[in-house]
Amino acid sequence: MLLTKSLPRPAIIAILAAFAALFLAGCATPSTPAAMTAKPVTAVTKNPESLGVNVTGGGETSSMGASNISDADFATAIKTSIADSGLFAKITASEQADYLLSVAIVRLDRPLFGASFTVNFEATWRLSRRSDQKLIWEKSVASSFTATMGDAFVGVTRLRLANEGAARTNIQDAITQMSALSLR
């Protein structure tokens, strides 16, 4: 009421439009599984067994916060990437799988501002055999990705692209390393 009395109608419309633009352009969106999925890696070893994937350490994205990577979205990206590579014959629920891949997101180091956003990402990857709980492979994989103004003008979008790129690179690197493993 205060605004409508003190400001002319065109000014109110302009301010409302500016606020709408601010909110629509500035709302952070989470990293998407499709954009985090690694380019197909040709697996050296194609294992006939099944694999379950479990991710921890991720976070949800709040509209007023910074773009984040959720456990579920990162798990989906990992599952799709591994299925595409043929590293394991089947991706299934963890309780039914022959092998379990546990991935913990350790660090998602995001810049607060800047023209180019470089995100540093680190995850601990653990592959274990479910039958005897034997740890087959454990590795800390670090990756980074830079998104520039040319990739996206809006900051929150640029940050999301950097997050997705860093996650994608991490998955690709981990799959490449797992491809060289002999599970026999």
């Binding site: 205060l2 605004l3 009395k5 003190s6 400001l7 301010i15 921890t56 350490g57 976070g59 007023m64 916060g65 913990a104 350790v106 660090r107 180091d109 607060l112 680190e122 601990t124 454990e138 590795k139 800390s140």
Partner: protein, 143 residues
């Protein structure tokens, strides 16, 4: 009246943009018992010129651990855990620590066994020692 409207708008905008967001989160990997770890080494972040590594080591000593700090390459042979961190700072009237991430790692492989995170925007800011206390407190509470 026009002035009041503009002031209200600016205040709303400032409130929305700065906010008072707080996040505190920690994860300890399955099978890890942090209470069993006694000797810590805090590796200084190369670009850190504020001595955050000393704050972390001091806090660890205060809670009954044995902690030293220094360059990452100078980790003592008897260290049972390596502590790394990333601190972010922001300016709002004065500089303040907006975010602190801490990782506790196995010394050899440097695989993280526990992680802690705190984010506090300007209106909810705490001093660096308090941020360290908050993150480590939450981490060791989970053990």
């Amino acid at each position: 009246m026009k002035k009041y409207g503009l002031i209200l708008l600016l205040a709303s905008l400032a409130g929305l943009l700065s906010g008072c967001v707080t996040q505190l989160r920690s994860d300890v990997s399955t099978g890890t018992d942090l209470s069993a770890v006694k000797k810590f080494y805090v590796a200084r972040l190369p670009k850190d010129e504020r001595g955050v590594e000393k704050l972390i080591a001091d806090r660890l000593n205060l809670i009954g651990k044995q902690a030293t700090s220094g360059e990452r390459s100078a980790i003592p042979a008897d260290a049972e855990a390596l502590v790394t961190y990333q601190d972010k700072w922001m300016w709002d009237i004065t500089m303040y620590m907006i975010e602190l991430n801490v990782q506790i790692r196995k010394p050899g492989s440097e695989i993280a066994i526990a992680t802690g995170h705190s984010l506090r925007t300007s209106l909810a800011r705490k001093s660096p020692p308090e941020m360290v206390e908050e993150v480590l407190g939450d981490l060791f509470k989970k053990r």
